[in-house]
């Protein structure tokens, strides 16, 4: 309890609260603009936060991360265009409600569900923290290596129908992480005798290229679009109150969000899918799903907003990011010499509680902001897409150039921007590259000490957590292959029957 109060005390400083306010409101605005998204915003702001104290910088980025999905629901419901990728499922039921003249009700339900699940997920994590504090120290080099490997396997498997592409991109990410001066023997790897390659590829430069510059290139070279939406009239508070009629769906969505968020590489999409399927299967009116179902909308929004808090768990407890946004936050930790991992839960639990308290506060700030500003945000949605591209390109410069004032970094970012654009046009995910880059580095660093006392293969899995993780990886791979085989057989039977 003392630590919790100490954590809250850390928040009660003007600079921290101001950063939280800027991050939360900024995140909503960024989330509401289709084509920007939290990854672009965090990538651009990341170098700017390096000059700030650790909690201030992290709280600002957390604000963006946690609030962008609130904002993303607005265009998803009103103009059938998700503000962020994870709001895609919201369009299924949100937009049909708008077409029926129930836009206010849909927005109220989305905000209410997001708020409810956001708060519930953080409370669940606060209760889980003592357990994590006990479990995290049991993770040595072998366990962290296996957890990182599990993250990579999951990120490949989670991309259903694209597992081969996700695997090759994850491999590419791991390769990028090996370029430069090798950390143990100090030999050069794939530097081609170029001094600018000796320090390797900086994560932030790659992230800015793959997320921000690629999005700018896509918008600049695409057709012009200036979406329009009608203003909202009525009481938002009353509309949000309707969420209480769907308490069970909110609780289930939160549960799925927390569980899926904690597993590296899985994230919002699986949580939403499970939550939506559960809501549909237990609904009295399953046919309404996809045609403006209140339950469907609540299931989607509650699951996705429970993930950010849970996604911080593998990052804080093990130092393993589960997705691109937490991978970016990892670099903020490192810059400030705050090393996430077992020691953080043992030595700086008040810092962890401060982050949780910040997440609760950001949900309150955002919901209050959304109650009064939805019509104001509609004006921001109307920015023409190509002009938005100019804005992202200009802001990307700050992110890349302010790192080291290096023109090489800008060239590398531009190259990755182009790679990201090709991936987007090919409908392939850039996230495996980022996770490969981060997790590959962790795996290489941890594999060497992990192998120090290993004489036979089985020695690696002697400790219970290592054995559990090893079995989990094996089960996942076998399960995935079996599921592919089953699908193939089912399709073959369908084809034969047709």
């Amino acid at each position: 309890m003392d630590m919790l109060l100490s954590g809250i005390g850390m928040l009660m400083h003007l600079d921290v609260l101001l950063a939280l306010l800027i991050g939360s409101v900024g995140g909503v605005i960024i989330g509401a603009i289709p084509g920007v998204g939290p990854a672009v915003a965090i990538a651009i702001l990341l170098p700017a936060t390096f000059a700030l104290p650790p909690l201030v910088g992290l709280v600002m980025l957390l604000g963006i991360y946690g609030s962008s999905m609130f904002g993303g629901a607005l265009p998803a419901i009103l103009i059938n265009t998700p503000g962020t990728a994870v709001n895609a499922l919201t369009t299924y039921d949100g937009h049909p409600m708008t077409k029926r003249g129930e836009a206010l009700k849909a927005l109220g339900l989305a905000y209410g569900a997001s708020f409810g699940s956001g708060i519930l997920s953080i409370l669940a994590l606060i209760l889980l923290s003592p357990v994590l504090a006990k479990v995290a120290p049991m993770f040595g080099s072998k366990e962290i290596f296996l957890a990182a490997l599990l993250g990579l396997v999951l990120v490949v498997i989670a991309h259903r129908g694209q597992a081969l592409a996700a695997g090759m991109l994850a491999g590419f990410g791991v390769f990028l992480g090996t370029v430069g001066l090798e950390p143990l023997k100090y030999t050069q790897r794939f530097t081609f005798d170029q001094p600018w390659l000796a320090s390797g590829f900086d994560l932030i430069v790659v992230v800015l290229g793959l997320f921000a510059l690629s999005q700018a290139f896509l918008l600049l070279s695409g057709p012009e679009d200036a979406p329009d939406a009608k203003p909202i009239k009525g009481s938002m508070a009353r509309a949000m109150g309707r969420t209480f009629r769907h308490k069970r769906i909110v609780a289930a969505g939160t549960g799925f969000g927390v569980l899926m968020g904690m597993i590296p590489g899985v994230g919002e999409f699986t949580a939403q899918f499970l939550s939506y399927t559960y809501a549909q299967k237990t609904s009295k009116d399953p046919d309404a799903f996809g045609n403006g179902s209140e339950e469907g909308l609540v299931a989607s929004e509650s699951a996705n907003n429970a993930v950010p808090a849970a996604a911080m768990i593998p990052l804080l407890a093990l130092g393993i990011p589960g997705e691109a946004l937490t991978a970016m936050m990892l670099s903020v930790f490192y810059v400030h010499n705050v090393i996430p991992g077992p020691q953080l839960f043992q030595g700086q639990i008040d810092f962890v509680y401060a982050l949780y308290a910040a997440m609760i506060l950001l949900n309150v700030i955002v919901v209050l902001f959304m109650m009064v500003s939805s019509n104001l945000l509609l004006k921001i949605i109307r920015i023409p897409t190509r002009f938005l591209g100019v804005m992202i390109l200009t802001l990307s410069f700050v992110g890349v150039y302010s790192l080291r004032n290096s023109i090489s970094d800008c060239v590398i970012a531009a190259v990755f921007g182009w790679i990201g654009l090709v991936l987007k046009r090919q409908d392939l995910p850039p996230v495996p590259i980022i996770l490969g880059l981060v997790l590959g580095g962790i795996m290489e660093t941890k594999f060497r000490p992990a192998m120090a006392r290993v004489e036979v293969f089985a020695d690696f899995f002697q400790r219970p957590i290592a054995a559990f993780l090893g079995l989990a990886i094996l089960a996942l791979v076998i399960g995935h292959l079996a599921s592919l085989r089953r699908q193939a057989l089912e399709r073959a039977e369908e084809e034969a029957g047709a």
């Binding site: 170098p47 700017a48 000059a51 081969l164 695997g167 090759m168 994850a170 491999g171 590419f172 791991v174 390769f175 992480g177 090996t178 090798e182 143990l184 023997k185 030999t187 050069q188 790897r189 794939f190 530097t191 081609f192 510059l213 290139f217 600049l220 070279s221 023409p384 190509r386 002009f387 591209g389 100019v390 804005m391 390109l393 200009t394 990307s396 410069f397 700050v398 150039y401 302010s402 004032n405 023109i407 800008c410 531009a414 921007g417 182009w418 654009l421 090709v422 046009r425 090919q426 409908d427 590959g440 060497r448 192998m451 085989r485 699908q487 193939a488 399709r491 073959a492 369908e494 084809e495």
Partner: protein
């Protein structure tokens, strides 16, 4: 042909007319050994440029594998997992295996056409990459404020936002960006050489540190 997206493939589903070309022999063999034959999975339609991308990535993996002995070291009397070559080799082999699978999958899918249009779509944004790099070169010379105003106005003009309103908005956006990042947050961007032309004094220092 029960799969709704599956189109008949000349040379596989449709017997070729006399003298009709149905791709190279290699392509015909690959279509014949598609996963559909092995597993019963219906053939899907390839996206435009999918084969080009997959082939490009596979070639990159292959080139990296060939370069591996020349770009990494192998140290004597050192365990394999401590070798500097170990992790790049793991990464490149992963790339090679998965990109090989991705390429085979793309080749086995129905060719949908439009590859050249897609490649043009990949090349078109290179113009904006050059704009970006031009902006990067301009900042150390003209200073952050002036370079940003010039860049946003020029690129907006290029994109067709030529009215006074849009030029004003572009300028305001540039000014706002500089004020937030340089003046307020103090991000690390060097002052422009242009400020050296001003007489020494407080005003020059102010411009150099804030704009």
């Amino acid at each position: 042909m029960s799969d709704p997206i599956a189109k008949p493939v000349p040379g596989v589903d449709i017997p070729p007319r006399p003298g009709q070309r149905t791709g190279t022999r290699f392509q015909r063999v690959l279509r014949t050994i598609s996963p559909r034959i092995v597993t019963g999975v219906p053939r899907r339609a390839a996206g435009p440029g999918e084969v080009v991308f997959a082939a490009g990535f596979f070639c990159l993996s292959l080139i990296l594998l060939l370069l591996l002995p020349f770009q990494t070291d192998w140290l004597p009397r050192t365990k394999i997992f401590v070798q500097p070559r170990f992790w790049p080799a793991i990464a490149i082999l992963t790339m090679l295996v998965f990109s090989g699978g991705h390429l085979l999958r793309a080749l086995a899918a129905h060719p949908s056409g439009g590859a050249w249009e897609e490649i043009k779509g990949w090349l078109r944004p290179l113009e904006f990459a050059l704009w970006f790099l031009g902006y990067v070169q301009l900042v150390p010379q003209a200073g952050y404020l002036l370079a940003t105003i010039l860049f946003t106005c020029a690129i907006s003009w290029r994109l067709g936002y030529r009215s006074l309103r849009w030029m004003g908005l572009a300028t305001l956006f540039a000014l706002g960006t500089v004020l937030v990042f340089r003046s307020l947050l103090g991000v690390n961007i060097p002052s422009g050489a242009i400020y050296e032309l001003l007489p020494p004094g407080g005003f020059r220092s102010f411009l150099m540190t804030r704009f």
